[in-house]
Amino acid sequence: MPNPLYQKDIVSIRDLNQTELELIIQLASIIKAQPVSPYLSNKVIASCFFEASTRTRLSFETAVQRLQGSLIGFSDSANTSTQKGETLTDSINMISSYADAIIMRHPKEGAARLAAEVATVPVINGGDGANQHPSQTLLDLFSIAECQGRLTDLKVAFVGDLKYGRTVHSLAQALSLFNPTFYFIAPEALKMPSYLEQDLAEKGISYQYLSSLEEGVEQVDILYMTRVQKERFDPTEYMHIASKYILTKAMLKGAKPNMRVLHPLPRVDEIHPDVDSSEHAYYFQQAENGVYARQALLALVMNEHIKELDNA
């Protein structure tokens, strides 16, 4: 079976179509269930973190190791030539002559797009400023598919910071390919950006704002929680706002049996610890899925044929 992701740059979740997303999810679940071929043996993968992000880096590097790839790279730009004023263009040019693929994180938005245009090998975006973080969205999608048994026709509520939360933006865009119904639960100051609302409207995706978390819990299949950042409010205002968007176990009483709570983690206090013991909690499985999703992505980008998919 030909693999459409072979040698493709993974910069933005918007670059992936429905078939490609489904392929990644399918392979991730195969990888989770059984050991697979060492898809990165004889491959050198550059892990270039121009900005420190321990979780994302460890998750990617674990994925590379599990597929028996070799790693080169750096975990922050403090001791690199970037620090001495080298352009990203020059750095990427140089690195792409060493490695078979580049995983990169960079503090500036658009850095991965630029790198992908410069590099002669595939570039995988591990986060560019406040813009895109496609592998996070892939693990979110994988987790949703896993706990619901499907991605199509789901009712999904997004809660918390919908204005600055890039995981929300990317996931909403990706799910838009699967005929969802969206519910937004957010303080007025943290509503979805209007260009995204317009995007959804143009695609004919149905969405509405709900005024309380309880209202959402009873209707949806997925409750995607995000953190409301303290810094964005004065302290009393924050107390008032945050308390409205904290999920407790008691609130889950009316939830549908299949309803699952997701959170990109780390959480602060938006999910009460008593939710952890609920059958609805799924955020720890979601975090674990990060490595499988990244393994699937790397295997597909670096191999034209995936044996396990042919047999599936």
Binding site: S12, R14, T87, L88, T89, H106, P107, K108, E109, G110, A111, R113, L114, D128, G129, A130, N131, Q132, Y195, Q198
Partner: protein, 155 residues
Amino acid sequence: MRETMAVEAILKGTVIDHVPTGQGLNILSLIQKRDPQAQITVGLNLPSKGNGKKDIIKVEGWLFSQHDAGEMALYAPTATVNVIDNYAVVKKFKIELPDQFVGLFACPNSNCISHTEPVASRFSVSQTHNAEANTHKVRLQCHFCERTFSDSLFK
């Protein structure tokens, strides 16, 4: 009568007519960006048909293409372009928004990579027309940082 003369008193070149008042100097700077040596005459607040006013720009020697003119569309969506050769209008067209703006405006996002790297800025252009409200919205999306901006940020 004066207007007709202003348009035609040029041997060869381009006259951009019906530029909204206040936008003439913006158009001028765009032309200068493209060709710092261009010979340009600018008329500001000239009388237009009816009670209105307009700006006019004449560029000697440069026969504008549709593409050249497209770059001015954000500032002068209502302008008309007259391409003149041997004192006669050889081509006349309305300014139209292009699909992309390349190298013309800096990205308003200060954290965009395009500010610090040797690349031209690039924006894709989309328009939405609301027939009911009779409003016309232009949005520009940065190729690099993917942020979407309303055209007012660039004017």
